[in-house]
């Protein structure tokens, strides 16, 4: 990467230890990682290596035990919980493996949630949500409930939800693992197109080797450590 690119995320010696009833499990054993603006970074590695813990820390929904993790220059650990909530609501978008759409809300309503959390009025939020759904190719499915959509369509709704409030960092947890190859490919194309249009950063946790080529860089993790961070071409 260009060494002058501004860092979106900067983790230094991040340690997270889980206490599982007397046993200590080191999930993150001193992680150093930098993700730049405009970069799509993938975290890969075997199950239990600490990928999900790391994106939880980066997204500010889990506190590390030591070390620092700055997102857009702010150390989330030093923020008050109300500040952190506001920061998360404004700056971070989420795409989950299981989509995590609210089943009783239709696509437009699901997509409008981040805006409503940010204090936007419902009608305005739904109008904006409908526009973003249009961008992800689901303009005509706005009134559909999640149960009426295919897996790929649900993930598109989830992506629209992650983008609607224009966050600067998008964290994705296995966004293609529940999808077939073609749909997964389409979803990644969409994420890359829409998410990286502006100065955003994307962090994707994945096991899916078929999508590695979409990454700018890949961080290989194992046993709570980052073994290497390389360009995707080099990794492949």
């Amino acid at each position: 990467m260009d060494g002058l690119a501004k860092a979106a995320v900067s983790c230094k010696n991040v340690v997270k230890v889980y206490d599982t009833g007397g046993d200590k499990v080191v999930a993150l054993g001193g992680i150093d990682l930098e993700i730049c603006m405009g970069e799509l970074m993938m975290l890969v590695g075997p199950s239990g290596c600490g990928k999900t813990t790391l994106i939880s820390v980066i997204a500010g929904i889990l506190d590390q035990d030591s070390g620092s993790c700055e997102v857009f220059g702010k150390d989330l650990l030093l923020m008050r919980s109300s500040e952190k909530l506001k920061f998360r609501a404004k700056n971070i978008g989420f795409v989950f493996q299981a989509f995590n759409l609210l089943p009783s809300l239709n696509a437009v309503e699901n997509v409008s949630i981040p805006l409503i959390i940010n204090g936007v009025k419902r009608q305005t939020a739904e109008r904006q949500a409908a526009n973003v759904l249009e961008q992800v190719g689901l303009g005509k499915r706005g009134k559909s409930l999640p149960s009426q959509l295919s897996g790929g369509q649900q993930q598109r709704v989830a992506i629209a939800r992650a983008l609607v409030h224009d966050p600067r960092l998008i964290v994705c947890d296995e966004p293609t693992s529940a999808l077939d190859h073609e749909t997964g490919h389409n979803v990644m194309e969409l994420l890359r197109q829409v998410a990286l249009q502006r100065d955003r950063a994307l962090v994707i946790v994945t096991h899916d080797a078929r999508i590695f080529s979409f990454a700018d860089r890949i961080a290989q993790m194992d046993d709570g450590h980052i073994e290497k961070v390389v360009d995707s071409a080099e990794y492949l």
Partner: protein
């Protein structure tokens, strides 16, 4: 977020209806059973409240409640009349006598004997005939419930409807002829026996002869006279018990509360209704929150504060509580309406609405608190678990 909270609640139709049913049941039991209890208890003193004219009731000091008759000598009437501050004092007979029906069976009746001259103490509402008709020979006034049910004549055809008593029909009271001269509306009494009004002199003639026949002395105070003071004065001057209407009602109420199983029976029903309703509604609401925990986690991860989630849960609880309460009290009111012409005691004052509302609110608060606790403790990181 209110819209999202309501959609989350109503999205799971089965759970939503389950919670509402639980709360409806609790609300129904918490209002219907006490309504019967209040209705029943009000019947215990209905005879006192039906008699609006006298200010003070004078009786034997050992009387414990309105149906606990301990007769006085007739001379006591004159002693009461002699107390200063008494505008008038009238005798009242109240006793249980057997009426022989035309089919040969007997029916116990509450016979009320009114002062022959003034007829003070008569029924509150005359439906047919006039109170003064009691002055006619052997005249009696029968309450409408007695006339149409227990004292009614045999049907013309087997299995047909009994024929209500009407003016001119005769009854036999303790081998004495009584002619119906009026039909009155009275509040049902606790024992639900037919009520027969007649004059004092005729009532004591119908009753088996005893040395003491006077049940109560009804007293009206002079204008401006302080009732508690006059009550004390009558007690002192006569050695009898004297109670204002409210005191006599309280005496009767307290007797039934302390000496019968009614409060325990109904209290148990209400408590069980509350517990079962709370258990059903609380458990279903809690399960509903548990099942939506992941959704709350998603909202939390996206930046929704605990306060926002708390408001969402409270709104859900308030909505199901209001609907359940409304349906419950509606059903209770419907029950009261459906049974209005039956023997069942039922009284639904506003206090019971408030009581039911408080009960349902408690259940909702309980259900919301256990749910909120879970949501507040929720780690948003669960959203990344598959």
């Amino acid at each position: 977020m209110n819209h999202i909270a309501l959609k989350m609640l109503m999205g799971d139709r089965g759970k939503y209806l389950g919670i509402i049913m639980g709360l409806t049941f609790a609300s129904l039991i918490m209002t219907q059973q006490p309504a019967i209890f209040v209705g029943l208890m009000m019947r215990t003193f209905s005879f006192i409240s039906d008699l609006g004219l006298p200010d003070i009731w004078v009786m034997d000091p050992k009387v414990q409640f309105v149906d606990d008759i301990k007769p006085l000598q007739d001379t006591k009437l004159y002693r009461v009349r002699g107390v200063s501050g008494v505008k008038w004092a009238m005798p009242l007979y109240k006793g249980l006598l057997k009426a022989r029906l035309e089919n040969g069976t007997f029916q116990t009746c509450n016979v009320i004997g009114l002062d022959d001259a003034t007829l003070i103490g008569g029924p509150p509402v005359m439906l047919v005939g006039k109170l003064k008709d009691l002055r006619r020979s052997d005249g009696v006034i029968v309450d409408i419930d007695g006339a149409t049910e227990k004292l009614a004549k045999r049907p013309m055809v087997p299995g047909g409807k009994p024929i209500p008593l009407k003016i001119g029909d005769t009854l036999e009271l303790n081998d004495n002829r009584a002619i119906v001269v009026g039909i009155a509306k009275t509040t049902k009494t606790f024992q639900s026996q037919p009520v027969i009004y007649t004059t004092y002199s005729r009532a004591v003639r119908y009753a088996p002869r005893e040395r003491k026949m006077l049940s109560f002395v009804l007293v009206k105070a002079m204008p401006g006279e302080d009732i508690p003071t006059l009550t004390r004065r009558i007690r002192k001057a006569t050695g009898l018990a004297a109670y204002s209407r409210k005191e006599f009602i309280d005496l009767t109420w307290n007797y039934f509360m302390k000496n019968t199983g009614i409060p325990i029976t109904f209290g148990t029903s209400v408590a069980l209704g509350f517990i079962v309703g709370a258990a059903i509604a609380g458990q279903t609401f809690y399960n509903f929150t548990l099942e939506n925990l992941r959704q709350f986690g998603v909202l939390k991860a996206m930046g929704a504060s605990n306060w926002t989630l708390l408001r969402m849960i409270l709104l859900q609880a308030i909505l199901v509580g209001s609907i359940g309460y409304g349906l419950g009290v509606g059903l209770t009111a419907l029950f009261g309406y459906a049974t209005r012409n039956t023997i069942l005691a039922f009284k639904f004052p506003w206090q019971l609405l408030a009581f039911g509302g408080a009960g349902v609110t408690l259940i909702c608060i309980f259900a919301a608190i256990i749910s909120i606790r879970k949501v507040i403790k929720l780690e948003p990181a669960i959203v990344f678990k598959g």
